[in-house]
Symmetry: C2
Subunit: 247 residues, 2 copies
């Protein structure tokens, strides 16, 4: 399923607790790295509240712009979990208890010896036309409808759902990366680096400083889907840095 087209994605993180600062999000970085590894370009991330209007507006904006939209959060059993309903509203489809999800959840509740309450069965409410995404951790499924992939917010659960859905995604050419580490501040190499970017306009070039262990260092990162061009860019940069005694 991989090819040379550019496949893009956005992530929509849904959760009051992220916006209040109570909970640091861990899903953005995990999904971003995963997308890079399978050749999908993550282009935008948004974080919105557990609010229907906010979710509907963001979903409709993002699903139109990118190949895929991945949402996290808000598919649990409590009243603040409104994502499934908001997705159905955004896509203009009905939503009710999906027999496949009901069966999975009821079997799980029996195994665990807990009561099947209306609140718990909210997790079986799936928009019409969606495919389920398996959740081996806690059973309540995610789902995919059109190009919208709806995952849990709890990181461990989100990660297994993402693994499950990956086989269904179109992927593009994988972005390759080369990193050159320097024990110097970015300012020392900025002019050289800018000129090198001009020489290789199709290789994305970024410079990232750090101050770890009290020492200033810089990582120069080159990215391209073209391995041959990337290697030429890397060699050319190394030659210039060497000639200035910077590596």
């Amino acid at each position: 399923m991989s090819g040379e087209e550019t496949v893009t994605a956005a992530v929509l993180v849904i959760g009051d607790e992220i916006l209040s600062g109570r909970t640091p999000d861990r899903n953005i970085n995990y999904i971003a790295a995963h997308m890079t590894s399978i050749g999908i370009r993550l282009r935008e991330v948004r974080v919105v509240a557990d609010d229907e209007r906010e979710i509907v507006d963001a979903v409709n904006a993002l699903r139109a712009r990118y190949t895929y939209l991945i949402t996290t959060g808000g598919i649990g059993p409590t009243h603040d979990d409104i994502t499934a309903d908001a997705i159905a509203k955004a896509l203009g489809v009905p939503i009710d208890h999906d027999p496949r999800a009901v069966e999975l959840l009821e079997a799980y509740f029996v195994r665990r010896g807990v009561t099947s309450t209306p609140a718990r069965m909210r997790m079986a409410r799936i928009p019409h036309g969606a495919e389920l995404i398996a959740n081996p951790v806690s059973v309540a499924p995610g789902f995919m409808i059109d190009n919208v992939i709806v995952l849990a917010g709890v990181p461990d659960v989100m990660q297994v759902m993402l693994d499950d859905v990956t086989a269904r995604l179109r992927t593009g050419a994988k972005m390759l990366t080369e990193t050159i580490k320097l024990s110097r501040p970015e300012g020392d190499v900025a002019d050289l680096f800018a000129a090198h970017q001009q020489a290789f306009p199709d290789v994305a070039m970024g410079s990232y400083p750090s101050f770890a262990d009290g020492r200033i260092s810089t990582q120069l990162v080159l990215r391209s889907t073209d391995s041959e061009m990337l290697e030429r860019a890397r060699q050319g940069l190394m030659a210039q840095l060497n000639s200035r005694g910077m590596v």
Copy 2:
């Protein structure tokens, strides 16, 4: 400067390295918690690439919707640091070397014994009409123009800049929080909690599960700017949980 109005904010994280998954963002959570502590409601976060069009569009959308927009990233010395120019473009103002910033940077370079190069002096380019935000860590200033607050991406630097600019911000009524911890899954209390939300529609109520140490637990979080209403909601919820033997 605090009052009873609702003061809102959005955060715009600018950086290819966040979208590629190379670097986990640490600023969203820090800023979110800081906003909560000073009574500003963070309503939305976006992450975009180091791309002028993307930055301009996001800046214009967000600065119109909220009291403040805080951006992080892209104000360093390298060619991929394009935030200051993009902000000037979005606001339709000129940008060039600001004498105040030039003075700060030149003095810093002299102290450090490094050359003042064109690349380094890019960090003195500030949109016309902006006020500077001090950077005691690495000197290159942030800035604030209209309701747009432009900070560094490096977390340590961002945090000191945020501290510096806080005194200039209007703040609102502080959101107060009460948390009740249960050693039970969310599903056990979801119906009770939903009914309690109906009883106290002006108190935000959210339920957050966790699976730490192999044990399922849930935190019920109540939030309100009205301390008296919050306490009544908390007491009412505790009474119900007690009567069902859940705490």
